[in-house]
């Protein structure tokens, strides 16, 4: 049993000229885990990361990294590395100089520096690019240089601020896997900021979902997906997001304000046999399956998943049934009601 988690944020708050940045952020991060800070833009996830990095100072609360209180320690003294959204490569330095920048500052002996550089270049597949300047590299290569710079010094904590958002979709998928593998192989702790829930869900051991400067839910991707704490989490996580239905639209749920249901728990029913009667609004063909968007006056985000290609003209009325045992109930404020009414 570990005495204390690797990173602890305790009651952190940060305000900008009185306006709220983040507040009441309490979080523990175990060593060697991959934690994603997820949320829409402006939710405070980047601020949280910058507080952790030491680029901002919190107004309240305490930050502990590896047993040491670093709340007021500058970034240079926190022994962590960071990958920036813009990569922040020094344009006047070559790839090798960029990667070795921190080691030079910390006066690592030259032989050791070169050895670590070679290893980092090997891991990130950049061998042969050492003498190029950042502006002679493609976006994907720059991204890997930024990664190399972050891992080369062997810091145990690595912060990443939307490192994939400047890559094209295909590359993003590949690099996502690389980062995850790298994190596992090196055994480092990664705190990863993203607004893309697919990224967070696929990479993280623990997802921290934020909104308006506050944490909404902390849990494994599976917990966030299947047991959302509130309707915001339900609607943010998953593609398509969870559909929310007003309770009185469903027989047997009239005392529950809101019902949540995942698309995979919705099935097409015979006309007149279903729980809800909806209008088709659009069909989205994704190859293996088709998402059929549905409209219902008392529901939002209803989507029916159908295998293969299916084209239902918009405006057609269809009936659907919901898998009753999977339904989630939320109260008037959108919070989860712990016991499902019919279980």
């Amino acid at each position: 049993m570990r005495a204390q988690p690797f990173v602890v944020l305790d009651g952190i708050a940060k305000r900008w000229n009185g306006a709220l940045g983040v507040q009441d952020i309490s979080l523990t991060i175990e060593e060697g885990s991959f934690v994603a800070l997820l949320g829409p833009s402006g939710c405070g996830k980047s601020t949280t990361l910058r507080l952790l990095a030491g680029l901002e100072t919190p107004d309240e609360g305490q930050i502990i990294i590896d047993g040491a209180d670093v709340t007021h320690r500058p970034a240079s003294g926190r022994n962590l590395s960071m990958v920036f959204q813009s990569y922040a490569l020094f344009p006047h330095l070559s790839v090798a100089e960029n990667v070795m920048f921190g080691m030079k500052v910390r006066r690592v002996p030259k032989a050791e520096r070169l050895e670590k550089l070679r290893r980092a270049m090997e891991i990130t597949g950049l061998l042969g690019f050492e003498d190029r300047k950042p502006n002679e590299l493609s976006g994907g290569q720059r991204q890997r240089v930024a990664l190399a710079r972050a891992i080369v010094a062997g810091q145990r904590l690595c912060l990443m601020d939307e490192p994939l958002s400047n890559l094209d979709a295909k590359l993003r998928h590949a690099v996502r896997k690389d980062i995850k593998n790298l994190q596992k192989d090196l055994g480092i702790t990664v705190v990863y900021v993203t607004h893309d829930q697919t990224e967070a869900m696929s990479m993280a051991d623990k997802v921290v979902l934020m909104r308006d400067g506050e944490i909404q839910q902390v849990g494994t991707p599976e917990q966030l997906y299947n047991q959302p704490e509130n309707t915001f989490v339900a609607e943010f996580v998953g593609a398509p997001p969870m559909a929310l239905i007003e309770g009185h639209a469903l027989s047997g749920f009239s005392d529950v304000p809101t019902i949540g249901v995942r698309a995979e728990n919705i099935a097409l029913a015979e006309a007149g046999q279903g729980d809800l009667q909806c209008q088709v609004s659009d069909c989205e063909f994704l190859g293996a399956e088709t998402f059929i968007g549905l409209e219902h006056p008392q529901a939002q985000g209803l989507t029916l998943k159908v295998a293969g290609l299916k084209n239902i003209p918009a405006g057609q009325v269809i009936d659907i049934t919901l898998a009753r045992e999977t339904l989630l109930s939320f109260d008037k404020e959108g919070r989860k009601i712990s016991a499902s009414p019919q279980k």
Binding site: A75, Q85, A88, H92, V105
Partner: protein, 269 residues
């Protein structure tokens, strides 16, 4: 119509260029001819290098060259250190009263240096720097223009680079030295050009504050050499003038392209 106006533009530009360069051309003409040939514009007269010889023997030019060279170097080094630190403070450090102090620095731009000559003279004397190169250069080191320029250059550098360097373990001085200064190189170059040519040509202040050949820069030496009490020989003075401006002139001709680009890049006009 537009064609005519374009030609008019070119014509005006050429005319201005001729007016601007004619003193220099005349100096060239005079320097290579005897005095009577020079003032009579005798086109068939023979060329001579005698004027240069007379001029060279007439004053300790080597000493003056050395003094000017040392002076512009001292001023430039002092300016680089002070404008870098001050520019960085105004660009990236937050301290109380920053905007007010910056406005005070900018106000300095409105004051002609000549207005301060008496005060500067008193100050330099109090510091015991009278008749020394440091005394000549000192009043120009905390250049408001330079501070403003450096502040703008530092402000245009992406803050992520600053932050990345800090994460990698740099303190503020390390960040300044390893990130801001190298990235502001074009600005330093442009500023160096302005500073060197200004101080190479500066006359009034060095005239007042220097007192001996030991410290006199070229401009002052040249004016004493050409002063009426030494007898006016237009050809010899022209030769001496050409010698004084030669290093800058040659440097300009050689680095013309770089000069223009440096100015364009930093937006100094």
């Amino acid at each position: 119509m537009s064609r005519l106006s374009r030609h008019l533009d070119s014509f005006g530009a050429i005319l201005l260029a001729i007016v601007w360069i004619s003193p220099l051309l005349f100096a060239f003409w005079a320097a290579f001819h005897s005095t009577s040939d020079a003032v009579n514009f005798n086109l068939t007269s023979s060329l001579t290098l005698k004027n240069f010889q007379v001029a060279w023997d007439g004053a300790p030019w080597l000493r003056y060259f050395m003094n000017t060279f040392l002076l512009v170097t001292i001023v430039l080094i002092g300016q680089f250190i002070i404008t870098t630190l001050a520019g960085f403070a105004f660009a990236q450090v937050s301290f109380p009263g920053k905007d007010f102090i910056f406005i005070l620095v900018l106000l300095q731009l409105f004051i002609l240096p000549e207005v301060l000559i008496v005060e500067n003279y008193a100050m330099v004397s109090r510091l015991g720097l009278f008749d020394s190169l440091l005394g000549v250069g000192m009043p120009y080191m905390a250049s408001a223009f330079g501070i403003f320029l450096m502040r703008q250059a530092f402000k245009s550098i992406p803050i992520e680079l600053d932050e990345a360097a800090r994460i990698e373990g740099c303190g503020w001085f390390g960040v300044l030295l390893k990130v801001y200064v190298p990235l502001a190189k074009p600005t330093y170059l442009a500023y160096a050009l302005v500073s060197v040519s200004t101080h190479w040509n500066n006359f009034l202040w060095p005239l007042i504050v220097t007192n001996s050949d030991k410290t006199r820069p070229l401009t002052v030496g040249l004016s004493i050499f050409g002063a009426p009490e030494n007898g006016v020989d237009i050809s010899v003075i022209s030769a001496a003038t050409l010698m004084s401006v030669a290093p800058l002139l040659i440097a300009f001709l050689v680095f013309q392209r770089q000069f223009v680009q440096a100015f364009l890049r930093t937006g100094i006009k």
